[in-house]
């Protein structure tokens, strides 16, 4: 009997040990800012008094930056924390593919961060869902001067006259070129700029020359075959033709300028399949440009930082060529938002907006990653001027064609546009067919 009692005790002990082990583990949470226990910890921190006699504020900040972006953001956060002993910003890097879902659910659970990042294209959706708080009051209190921002970018963060976000950059879609390869093909002038006629035929001629003059191993134009980058190029060309988004101004219906959309799609499809200047289905398009086996490449400005840190890569950056009537490109911008929290803490909010404004003011650091700062005054800073390449594409910020403020922006892009444009790039649909199916799908997304 005694023996069995002993075993019973052991069993119960074991059971509770495992339970507590599994339970205790949740403390692994602390230091992140996601859990309620941690909120408590943060509040404790909040109450502690620093040597200056002021209350110290700890802010959790969720970001979606990786690679060069991630490193530069961390550097900015570290610099800010150093400059502001009373404010400590803690960065949690989330994977961008999951970022918005996680942000929405966490804010819904009351576990959201104090500060978050949003693309302007996602902002309407986040406002609509009640994730983002209004900034006007706290911005005044912290002394944010809205007039110092690029008004074009700022406009996209204002809904019904209310500020919801602090823009920190614009990141347009631009073109990069490999100077060595262009030179080899005789397409580089003395200033190190491409010899390129800014027209539909001119760009094709440029690419076909590259194809003829360069070794077979070299891809004239490194571009992904699916999703983002070719879509961005299509958006740029469609906008160059005068196309104005794919939704109507009242945001309720699909509205595509079919002729222009088809013309732009046809042009890109021909680059893939008629002129064969893009390697089809190339999973390594990024690496190809990086390792010098692609002559040109188009993607967002964030690649600048990556190319710069690549040894032996002599490259240049420029706006997307004016293939059609007017200059235009795809772009988006990162903004800082203050998510809605369970318990609004004015001190935290004020600290958070101070941080956001500081990020915008110190855009020269963020520009290291390639982005164009949101405050024009930053362009005048020597630190910014010392950065190469950026001045070559700063002008692009004003030709970016942003998407209209629809709450379904990303759904339209991911679920309707990528889907059918990918088929066009794969040569499985004619541009006309693809665009008409795309319009129907956009309509479907909008009416859901």
């Amino acid at each position: 009997m005694k023996k069995s009692l002993g075993i019973l005790v052991t069993f119960v002990l074991l059971f509770s040990m495992i339970l507590s082990a599994c339970g205790n583990g949740s403390n692994g949470n602390a230091g992140n800012g996601g859990s309620s226990t941690n909120d408590g910890a943060a509040e404790n921190n909040n109450g502690s008094v620093t040597s200056e006699g002021e209350e110290k504020v700890t802010l959790s900040f969720w970001t979606l930056f990786s690679g060069g972006d991630g490193d530069n953001m961390q550097a900015m956060i570290d610099a800010f924390n150093k400059e502001h002993p009373n404010i400590q910003v803690k960065n949690t890097k989330l994977e961008w593919g999951e970022y918005y879902t996680k942000l929405i659910t966490a804010v819904g659970n009351g576990n959201g961060p104090d500060i978050g990042i949003s693309h302007t294209s996602r902002l309407p959706d986040l406002i609509d869902q009640g994730v983002v708080s209004e900034l006007d009051g706290v911005a005044d209190e912290a002394g944010v001067d809205w007039s110092t921002f690029n008004q074009n970018i700022l406009a996209a963060t204002i809904m019904d006259g209310t500020h919801y976000a602090v823009p920190i950059d614009t990141h347009p879609f631009i073109m990069y070129y490999n100077k060595k390869l262009l030179n080899e093909a005789g397409l580089l002038d003395e200033q190190g700029k491409p010899v390129l006629e800014q027209s539909a035929d001119g760009f094709v001629a440029f690419l076909t020359t590259l194809k003829e003059k360069l070794p077979q191993k070299v891809t004239p134009f490194a571009l992904s075959n699916t999703n983002d980058d070719p879509f961005r190029l299509w958006w740029a060309l469609y906008s160059q033709l005068g196309g104005n988004d794919v939704v109507s101004d009242d945001l309720t219906a699909a509205q595509i300028d079919t002729d222009k959309a088809v013309q732009a799609a046809q042009y890109i499809q021909d680059l893939f399949h008629k002129h064969k200047v893009i390697k089809v289905n190339d999973p390594d398009f990024y690496k190809n440009f990086q390792s010098g086996t692609a002559a040109i490449m188009m993607t967002g400005v964030w690649a600048t930082g990556t190319w710069e840190s690549t040894e032996d890569l002599e490259f240049g950056a420029m706006p997307i060529p004016k293939v059609f009537d007017q200059e235009a490109t795809w772009g988006d911008s990162h903004t800082v938002i203050l998510p809605i929290t369970k318990k609004e803490d004015p001190a935290k909010r004020k600290a958070a907006i101070t941080f956001a404004n500081w990020l915008a003011d110190n855009g020269q650091v963020w520009a290291k990653a390639g982005h164009i700062p949101s405050k024009p005054s930053v362009f005048e800073k020597q630190e910014f001027k010392d950065l190469p390449y950026r001045s070559d594409y700063v002008s692009v910020a004003s030709t970016v064609k942003f998407s209209k403020p629809s709450t379904k922006n990303w759904q339209i892009r991911d679920l309707a546009m990528f889907k059918f444009l990918n088929e066009v790039w794969a040569n499985k649909m004619t541009p006309a067919d693809g665009i008409s199916k795309m319009e129907a799908e956009v309509q479907k997304v909008l009416s859901e």
Partner: protein
């Protein structure tokens, strides 16, 4: 004919081993080398630098530990819960036993995937999202394990128990001293299946956790891969680091694992 069998056998073995060998070989390649042919992977230069980078700069080791720790917690708790339930279902004649049996049996038909969306809502209401508890508790109820264990308990003759009872042993003592040892093979078998199931659970951690300190391998690995798709070396290092510990465990316990798996088919 015999030679054909032999060659075919060896071919199949190579086919199965090759992707893993490739993974290991690529993982020790020097990063950024130009690969133009298969041969390039299998020739130097080799380097372990990326291993160091991945181990020190990412949370992969932490995630491996999380996966392992959670799988162990889930396995032990599931076994305990299911063994206790299976035992009374088989050996204790209580009221409503038949009803209880069907109630448990019904659970076999409910796939975890189908209740995932409401489960998320329930876990959210309970406030256990983003915690080890939230990762462990929702997967503990295993009607399958109970049914299997019950049929094992059924195979143990009742007179054996009655003789113990005559000695004055309580139910708990019978359970621990007699029943558990006798069903050891079944317990091992269920432990292996539960462990592997938890080890590979992707959807639930993916939905319920935002804190990267709590990630498990299936959800953590994709976040790393997204950053490194430009080169095969890093992905393969990630794959290898995530796989080596479990492979070592497998080699140590191979006999027991194989035995456990083969047993699971008999009752499953």
């Amino acid at each position: 004919m015999k030679w054909f069998y032999r060659i075919f056998s060896i071919f199949m073995a190579l086919l199965f081993a090759f992707p893993l060998v490739w993974m290991l070989v690529v993982s020790v390649k020097k990063e950024g080398m130009k690969i133009t042919s298969v041969v390039d992977w299998f020739t130097p230069p080799y380097s372990l630098a990326v291993y160091q980078e991945i181990i020190t700069e990412t949370k992969l080791i932490q995630w491996s530990w999380n996966s392992f720790f959670i799988a162990v917690c889930v396995t032990l708790l599931t076994l305990m819960i299911a063994a206790m339930a299976g035992f009374v279902m088989s050996k204790v004649p209580f009221r409503y036993r038949t009803f209880m049996f069907f109630f448990i049996l019904a659970g076999l038909l409910i796939p975890g995937e189908a209740t995932l969306i409401p489960l998320y809502q329930v876990a959210k209401d309970m406030g256990i999202l983003n915690s080890y508890m939230g990762l462990v508790f929702p997967v503990l109820a295993s009607p399958f394990a109970i049914i299997v264990l019950k049929s094992f308990f059924d195979g143990i003759p009742n007179d054996l128990l009655e003789s113990v009872q005559m000695d004055g042993g309580g139910v708990w003592r019978i359970f621990v001293n007699i029943m558990l040892p006798l069903t050891r093979p079944a317990l091992v078998s269920i432990a292996i299946l539960t462990f592997i199931g938890s080890w590979n659970n992707f959807l639930w951690p993916f939905l319920s956790v935002t804190d990267d300190n709590l990630f498990t391998l299936p959800m953590g690995i994709p976040t790393l891969m997204n950053q490194y798709t430009e080169d095969y070396v890093k992905p393969m290092v990630i794959n290898t680091v995530a796989s080596l510990p479990i492979m070592v465990l497998f080699l140590i316990f191979e006999r027991q694992i194989i035995k456990g798996v083969s047993l699971s088919g008999i009752k499953g």
